[in-house]
Amino acid sequence: MRDLTIGQYYPGQSLLHKTDPRVKIILTLVFIFIIFFCKNFFSLGLMVAALLAGVLLSRVPLKMMLKSMRAITFIIIITALLNLFYSTGGKVLVSFKFFKITDTGVYTAIFVAVRIMALIVGSTLLTYTTTPTMLTDAIERLLKPLKLFHVPVHTLAMMMTLALRFIPTLMEEIDKIMNAQKARGADLESGGLMQRAKALVPILIPLFVSSFRRAYELAFAMECRCYTGGEGRTRMKQMKLKGLDSVLIVGCAVLLGGVIALNIFFKAFNVG
């Protein structure tokens, strides 16, 4: 529990780390949109190439990227298999009783698998290069227009930041509480479901009590520093668009153009 990372931020000084988080969020959304827009292997290939360039640019080790993929391997395999067996048309490659595998099926399966992987890598690239605090800050700025409709954007963002901030603290606390109860002979590892649920009581009660205490203390500390909500608050780190951000935006636009061009040019090879 000690080395649990939240938000899986990978510290670094790369260009992608320095990019404005607002730009990163929007571009990630655009990127996902473009990936769905790809119709054949050529346009998807362009996106994968762009993605690899992004990964290299972020200097996040490839190993870390693959790690984020492990959790969804199962989903990728299932989707690929479904596409493999349920696609019709094209040449029949293998046929076994009522199973039929066609070449279209194979192409679609590969295409879908690559697409899902590209989506995952694209979005992890965002969380690897942006701290949770920066993310919530950026979301707050992006959602600012919603204030017109009386959505308490600042409060929501502050809640999110605080929640993220306290996850590691609570983890540490659970560890300490468990040790204290185990030292008194609490048995957390054996017994049936009911017994195990009961065994959680000595852990949960001190955890709740201390969470409430922490919440009070934090509220007092914030009030002592004259926190009154979002009205009139300025930031220490102003988010300003720089040359680098414009380059990325333009790059993304070029990608979109490239994908459209490739989609039209290789129309004959479109998958699905």
């Binding site: 109860q181 030292a183 008194r184 002979g185 009581v201 001190p206």
Partner: protein, 286 residues
């Protein structure tokens, strides 16, 4: 036979990752029954990791832990019984108090030992008396107690298991002088009444000087010294080098000696200092 024996104990956090750190390294130590050992060392020296090995909360990456002549990891399933033999009480009572009443909370340990109702009740009352919690307090919610009372309730919760070895992590930290004194007294009382071996992790040298029979000094994941209080405090300069202090009175005596008084440098109680200084005063030296 020593009641606690650690043989080449090493513990690494994050073993097998690039973030691997040895919290304790090659610890070899033997503690005899009936000692009251003060464990000192600055933050991060490995004290907490060390004491969590004694009751099997942590298992050593390397090495063996012997309690009462038994290798505690010989039979992994029995690790819970080791925790009844070695009572460990952590610094923050907030992390362990959870029941509706103080009585029930102190009974948590004995209940886990599967003792009879009768026996549990007797043990709770006994432990409460040791730590000086009145019967009215026992019916209160543990969350309504004062800081010092909470601390005492937590210690009672461990004492009620009647451990042969009692390990206390900073039992006096953050208490006012009177609260501190009463905790130290109850530790001494418990030790005298039960003959238990007591280990006391602390930052406070005055506490150690006051009640310990031996001192274990931890530095950078290793045992720097394990000796009688007098012998350890005689190395005051070495202790200061690693960021620890010696009791005030020891420092006073050392300075007096530097100025030419014929004094023993390892005096660590005010009583001893008086006994050594009075004759000198009477002789009219200084």
């Amino acid at each position: 036979m020593p009641i606690i024996r650690l043989e080449n104990v090493t513990h690494n956090y994050g073993d097998g990752t690039p973030l691997c750190v040895s919290a304790i390294k090659n610890i070899n130590i033997e503690i005899e029954e009936g000692e009251l050992v003060g464990i000192i060392g600055h933050t991060g020296s490995g004290k907490s990791t060390l004491i969590q090995h004694l009751n099997g909360l942590l298992s050593p990456t390397q090495g063996r832990v012997w309690i009462d002549g038994e290798d505690i990891w010989q039979n992994k399933k029995n690790i819970r019984s080791v925790r009844f033999k070695v009572g460990l009480c952590f610094q923050y009572p907030e992390y362990q108090l959870f029941e509706e009443t103080v009585f029930k909370d102190i009974a948590f340990g004995p209940k886990n030992m599967k003792l009879s109702e009768e026996e549990i009740k007797q043990r709770v009352l006994e432990a409460a008396e040791f730590v000086g919690l009145t019967p009215e307090l026992l019916e209160k919610s543990p969350f309504d107690l004062s800081g010092g009372e909470k601390r005492r309730a937590a210690i009672a919760g461990v004492m009620a298991m009647k451990p042969k070895i009692l390990v206390l992590d900073e039992p006096t930290a953050g208490l006012d002088p009177r609260g501190k004194e009463s905790i130290l007294k109850l530790i001494l009382r418990y030790k005298e009444a039960t003959g238990a071996t007591v280990l006391l992790v602390t930052h406070n040298m005055e506490d150690v000087a006051r009640i310990a029979t031996k001192i274990l000094v931890m530095n950078r994941a290793q045992v720097l010294m394990y000796d009688t209080v007098k012998n350890v405090f005689a190395h005051s300069e070495e202790l200061e080098k690693i960021g620890l202090t010696v009791p005030q009175i020891t420092r006073v005596c050392r300075e007096l000696k530097k100025r030419g008084l014929d004094l023993d440098e390892s005096i660590y109680t005010v009583e001893d200092a008086c006994a050594a200084l009075l004759p000198l005063l009477k002789k009219g030296v200084g």
